[in-house]
Symmetry: C2
Subunit: 403 residues, 2 copies
């Protein structure tokens, strides 16, 4: 089990009865900080133009407000539009959608967004969802009820399916929302769409549970927390998955092993944990380059078991599922995992037909990251990746057009 | 000498006589791609609302337009506003300014933007400047004249001074522009400012020369290229530096050496070169952790000597300048490098006074990245970094305020 970077998976209940504002809070727009030379906090005119209700500073405790809070300018009330983040509250007031341009440094050698960039954008939009809720605090998204109980969110499972990778300069819309997961957990889902065509590039889902920050033990969801967050839950699922796929545990007989991996300072997040993207990089780097050059990741599942800190030495194990999709998927339709269903469906929709898709058999790998201990190893995260053959450059080459 | 990721340092001359549009090009807004099922390219209503003149597709060659070009939606004419990138043409039509929110994954364990993130944002805004010019092509920013002559831009020197690092969620404005550098080169500068206060967080400058893509030899600037780009040049400099500081070459006696560094697939850019940010990471990782924990980088100079590809094995050398600022800077005012001037000035402005700043003596390190060959090593990049002691948490802690 690991914290998923800043571990703030959910927004908090807010009144949705319009823009009524507490007049006392409104005064925050005119805050001046004692001891700061001359400037007052400039009111954001662009946001005003866009009709955004904004408060200039975050939570006020005991008459004190931190310089950091003013620089971050975290809203204290629910916002419906955020001009700077290009974000909007959607889904009847509980979902969030953000428009994002794929940046030059977010793409790899093939000019398409990397999986790492996609994971980063999922985290960013989840956090911005909470940001918009008006109750994001320095506690990184825990609700008041959670903070009272010393509870934080930790991610237990994450799944991403990529049908097509957006390219440099492409405009995408990322939508995210939360739902219930069992009695004590929460699900957060995402959809990444092409803004131009509406095509769904990627889908993702994740499940979260609460942990006591002090004891590091998992916790039930207290009733007061349920009352805060459950109004934000919606049923919609980005990935239909009746029974989550189990990932088997690898041992030292795994075909590919990278040992002595050491987290660097730059791999740590604000919680001093190795960040999620680094986990994925360690997993993927264990797969031979030759395979990576001719294949593209179409799906990944991560099952988190344990936190990984800066002092851990890590080992990455990887084993190809030689039977690929042909045995595990097509033969027994009931067993067909969502990873493969999504990938196949998109190929059929693209006009390749079932036969066309068979010669692009996706391959699957099982992964394990574990700490290397003197006496025993401990699991950090299990993974499963699904791949399809890279299409030739046809997709990116010139095509005829008519005006 | 190395290509600086996508090596597109400059915009191209465009008519600035308003929004007159070629009626033939206008039709591109209604393009349908033969063979694509139903959707036409959706017109971007948000951009229209913002009064942005936009063409939906990029350059049309021989009656063909690539699917990639439509997805990227590169403008064929100069744009003055880009809603999605939050970009504006400024400085009388030749400079570019973009508003950026510091994202959750762009900050390190201390919640401030990392140097890597800042370098990424410099690259991104430079490219978006060219994007706005209306002539960005698949050749990554080379002008028509350059493409005709098989010329590409390569960066030869880069300097960044950081006074203060923006924090997670902070809104910054990045301004960039170009100028002449000698007879055959170009300078690109940047300023990163707090949107709220106007405080300059960071300044950067870089110099670029042209290289023949085929022969990999440096080239003079052809007259037709000069005619294209020189109208974009302005005199303003982000960093005043009369004589660029020379960086001495380290040898194997350097105090800190990291060997056998291997570029990974994820470190390569679209040109299959190791990207600039990876260079900096290799340099900084050679400095002991203990120093990094108590110090913050305030300046870096990079002198590029050679391209580094995926097959190179790299060595990172590092040597502290034990004399620090006291000998090299304060004693002989004429020798005082801009790196130190900037850092000192900001400390004095912050009310620490000169004495206050002396107990925070910046330290300086000299760096070298070189390829490890069987018979000889070849320089990739020389570097110089300047550091100041991390401030205690006072800056980020609670401060009194008055309404």
């Amino acid at each position: 089990m690991a914290t998923f970077s800043y571990t703030i998976p959910l927004p908090i209940r807010c009144s949705t009865t319009g823009n009524k504002q507490d007049p006392k809070k409104q005064n925050l727009n005119k805050i001046k900080i004692t001891g700061t030379p001359t400037r007052s906090v400039k009111v954001d005119t662009l946001s005003q133009t866009a009709g955004v209700a904004k408060t200039s500073a975050a939570s006020v405790e005991n008459g004190h407000i931190s310089k950091e809070q003013i620089r971050q300018n975290i809203p204290t009330k629910k916002q419906f539009v955020d001009y700077h983040r290009q974000g909007l509250i959607v889904e009847g007031g509980v979902g969030y959608r953000q428009t994002v341009v794929i940046r030059s440094y977010e793409v790899g050698a093939d000019k398409t967004a990397t999986l790492e960039s996609i994971l980063n954008l999922l985290q960013e939009t989840a956090l911005n969802h909470v940001w918009m809720s008006g109750l994001l605090s320095n506690g990184f998204g825990a609700t008041h009820g959670m903070m009272k109980n010393n509870l934080i969110w930790v991610v237990s499972r994450m799944q991403v399916l990529v049908d097509q990778y957006p390219i440099w300069g492409e405009i995408v819309e990322i939508e995210t929302w939360v739902g219930a997961s069992g009695k004590n957990g929460m699900r957060r889902d995402w959809l990444i769409r092409s803004q131009a065509t509406g095509h769904v590039f990627a889908r993702a889902t994740s499940t979260w549970v609460m942990m006591n920050e002090k004891t590091r033990r998992l916790s039930k969801m207290p009733e007061e927390v349920r009352a805060e967050i459950s109004p934000w839950f919606i049923e919609k699922q980005a990935i239909q998955e009746d029974v989550p796929e189990k990932i088997s545990k690898l041992d030292s007989n795994a075909k590919y092993v990278n040992s002595n991996l050491k987290p660097k300072r730059s791999d740590l997040d604000m919680n001093q944990h190795v960040n999620n993207v680094k986990y994925v990089r360690w997993m993927l780097e264990t797969i031979p380059d030759q395979f990576l050059e001719s294949h593209q990741l179409s799906g990944i599942i991560l099952e988190y078991r344990r936190e990984c800190g800066s002092s851990n030495i890590v080992q990455s194990l990887c084993e190809p599922d030689e039977d690929g999709i042909l045995n595990s998927g097509l033969k027994q339709n009931n067993d067909m995992s969502p990873l493969n269903r999504f990938s196949l469906a998109s190929e059929i929709m693209e006009g390749n037909g079932l036969l066309g898709s068979l010669d692009k058999v996706p391959l699957r790998y099982t992964h394990l990251l574990q700490t290397q201990g003197d006496t025993q190893n401990e699991e950090i995260v299990r993974g499963k990746t699904t791949w399809k053959k890279r299409q030739s450059n046809i997709e990116l080459s010139n095509m005829p057009f008519s005006i």
